[in-house]
């Protein structure tokens, strides 16, 4: 108990990806979160997703707000630049960073307090801008780092550790994102890596804003009996309404496909997402149908999970802004400064 080091999650260490890197090369510093925290599982899934995708770690920019969730970028991709900014304002920092250099891969990690309270406006506007990034919302229904206050995602009736029941209706990031025109919306559970990893991979590949709401139980403040964000409750109510595999451009992946309908959605970069086990009235490319279907599942008391919606062809922020292909940070100064002569002739307009 008094030893603060925790064992690293054992992974097949030796296996190398296309870049010749092992999973360890995608890890970061030792986590300082509570043992059993859902966020640590998400961290592990992120490591796995990037490793599988053969992304060069240092070509990733990882950003976060403040909270237990906000700390996690320190725990993966040690070679990447990290930015742990201020509470709730990661979307703006990511937007500016994206604007400057779209050639990197962006991953933002946020908490439910970070995203749905103080940062709600920024999240909504990042969705609206379709900033090309993977946005992972580590959703535990509480403010972990400040010791367990209800967050805006706490369900009505869910009780705090002290026993008082929340009475405020929750903000559901999935419905919110669908309403705001988000181009990639998913929900998963930190305890279900099989589901989460392909979603993360698709979210990374998606050209635009990929929101992944991950129920991530807080063992210390919100894992008790009467909580609706506990491991137990989530396991019991988590219903994968759709299964999605991410098939990178490079080639077929090893996953086996069962029978049943498989629906493929092509992504911007030529990768594909294969949807399987999709309910009849559910079409992951039709926003309103998805919305309706999820409402029905919700009314049935289920927490519907999976890659719920994607619109791969919507213009991302750079397309809307009309910026040049080449990252702005790579433009030589000479192409930016009009020079003395131009100024001189411009001055004639001010005479």
């Amino acid at each position: 108990m008094s030893f603060i080091r925790k064992p690293r999650i054992p992974l097949p260490k030796s296996q190398k990806n296309v870049l010749g890197l092992t999973r360890q090369d995608y890890e970061g510093a030792m986590s300082t979160l509570c043992a059993g925290c859902g966020h640590d599982s998400i961290t592990a899934a992120i490591v796995e997703a990037f490793w599988q995708l053969d992304v060069e770690p240092h070509r990733v920019a990882k950003l976060s707000g403040i909270g237990c969730s906000g700390k996690t970028p320190a725990y993966f991709l040690g070679q990447a630049h990290g930015f742990n900014g201020v509470h709730g304002r990661m979307p703006a920092v990511a937007t500016g960073a994206q604007a400057a250099n779209p050639a990197l891969t962006y991953i933002g990690i946020s908490g439910d307090g970070d995203s749905l309270s103080i940062g709600l406006g920024q999240l909504c506007h990042a969705i609206r801008r379709n900033v090309d990034m993977l946005y992972v919302l580590e959703n535990n229904g509480v403010y972990g780092l400040t010791k367990g206050q209800f967050s805006a995602s706490a369900d009505v009736g869910s009780a705090s550790k002290k026993g008082e029941a929340n009475r405020q209706p929750p903000i559901d990031p999935v419905f919110l994102a669908l309403s705001l025109g988000a181009t990639f919306v998913a929900r998963s559970f930190s305890g279900d890596k099989a589901q989460l990893i392909p979603i993360l991979k698709a979210g990374i590949a998606h050209k635009g804003f990929a929101l992944v709401d991950v129920i991530s139980p807080c063992v210390t403040f919100n894992d008790h009996e009467a909580s609706t964000k506990s491991y137990r409750y989530t396991r019991d109510h988590h219903t994968a309404v759709v299964e999605a595999d991410f098939v990178p451009l490079r080639g077929p992946i090893s996953a086996e496909y069962g029978s049943g309908d498989v629906r493929e959605v092509a992504m911007h970069d030529g990768s594909t997402v294969r949807f399987r086990k999709v309910a009849e009235d559910f079409d992951p490319t039709r926003r309103d149908r998805v919305y309706r279907y999820l409402r029905e599942r919700q009314d049935a008391g289920e927490v519907a999970t999976g890659l719920l919606f994607m619109e791969p062809d919507a213009p991302d922020m750079h397309e809307v802004l009309g910026t040049v292909e080449s990252p702005l940070v790579d433009l030589p100064y000479e192409t930016l400064c009009p020079g003395a002569e131009a100024l001189d002739s411009l001055m004639e307009k001010f005479r």
């Binding site: 770690p57 500016g96 406006g121 940070v329 003395a340 100024l343 005479r351």
Partner: protein, 634 residues
Amino acid sequence: MSDPVNDFALKIATVNGTGSASANGLLMQSIFRMGVPVSGKNLFPSNIQGLPTWYEIRVSGAGHTSRAEAPDLMVVLNPATQTRDVAEVRAGGWVLHDSSWQLRRDAQRDDVTYLGIPFAELCTERFEGSRARVLLRNIAYLGALAALLDVEVPVLEELITQTYGRKKKLLDSNFEALRLGYDRARDAFHCPLPIRLRRMSANDDAVLIDGNTAAALGCVYAGATVAAWYPITPSTSLVDAFSAFAGQFRKDPDTGRLRVAILQAEDELAAAGMVIGAGWNGARSFTATSGPGISLMGEFIGLAYYAEIPSVFFDIQRTGPSTGMPTRTQQGDLLAVAYASHGDTRHIALFPADPHECFHFAVAAFDLAERYQTPVFVVSDLDIGMNDWVVPRLRWDDAYRPDRGKVLSAAELEAGARFARYLDIDGDGIPHRTLPGVHPRGGYFTRGSGHDSHARYTEDSVAYREVVDRIARKIDGAATAVPEPELVVDDALGAERPATVGVVTIGGCRGAVVEARERLRDHGVVADVLRIRGFPFHPSVRSFLDRYERVFVVEQNRDAQLRTLLVVECGVDPARLEPLLFYGGMPLSWGPVVKGILAALGMADPDAASQPTGAAPAPSPGSTPRLEIARGGA
């Protein structure tokens, strides 16, 4: 009164949303093109249409650009304000009014000359369409003014042609309206008036430009590629100009796409965050805002300071506090900017006095931000930013290259450069940085929480202090890198100079103070002027303060914020710095400065009842007698 040729002021009182501002701009530009020094102040309401607005034009062959004292000529076009407008004219002056309606009794004075022309009626007779009539009335009074003041009509006509040239019909009616007013004035009155223009060649190397446009141009030339902003008066036109210049200069000729990203943020917090994100990623990025935006950006500014991220903030100040008077000027954010954010912080700031400096300081701001890896503020104001000023033509040195500061390249990292993000390797307090994506060895974790010299999280006192102490040293070091103060002294006087006072001022007060200095000579007072241009203060500021027994600090806020900064930063005895404060929201004119200093020196002011001065020894901001000679229309 000196020779009124090329030395007078006029003021046009009208209603906003009627197009008069552009007409008045044409008049000002005509005077400029006649080679005569001129300045203009657009006093407009925080409103879109239908409220009183004024435009002041000062003509000064001697080249003075501060706001005029009482106008010689008032153009009365707004019945709602006629009484106060007429009351403002100097005794012996003129009132040009729209005699389509009667002046009210209380707008009648014995000591001014009334020049009535029924502009509205004339235009209604002559032109069709209510909007056209309104617009052309503006041109008609321009015509009358041309006759009265000897504005060269061809100059005006050329300008009108440049403005409406493409629309023949519009052009014709404008010419007609101009002629209408001109003829009517020439027929009815003895033209020109004693106050009148005469062609000079003072403007050969000058341009007429506003500070926000010039600052935007500076951003273009500095190589800024990311702008993030949220609209707020009076900063909006800076980003508008930047967008326009980007369209002109930053369009890829092949694809038509832009070499710039301009992000209209959802609010100022987001704008600041975007600027910081882009700066972190290696782009030159900036935002423009005003006081309320600075307040909202406070948290992010502290982050940029502590995590050491280059970023440029233009604060185009307006009258505070709170929403205040959004279309009035003030220098009320000096403290808010210098120590923005909670905790120990201190920021580099530049204070331009005119559009010329806005251009150059914008460029300097990016260099300083990257060199010192910190937020840098360009602190301008509504008067500088939104009014047109005659300034030296902007020039560019093609040899300029951005100072990107200490950024480790991929090659350096590859070669094994030792990298500790927050370590003081060079002894100047400035660490090395790396940019995301450049090299696996460059990765580090940026954070606003406690960190050590290696960018690792820490809660250890010693490791924490190592970083904040270094940052303090780093910012100290910028004192000699920011623009040096401007000194206006009479070297000719040599050692035998009479008793001299020091005057410290800042920003747009420059013109008024320099002019006041000349007038003070007439009273036997020699005033040496130092104008602050950068923060932290250059060491010469302290020497200047030490040189004079009496030092006046002239600024446009209630609480003597510049004086506070001088006391705190230079460590001088506050009793020695006498505040002269002008914070009613109007650009400063020389008169109140002269009066204030004379009164403080116990010298009678010859041409007005003297006012109490701010020269009490060691006043606190609260107890400082606040001096403000209110004049003018608002």
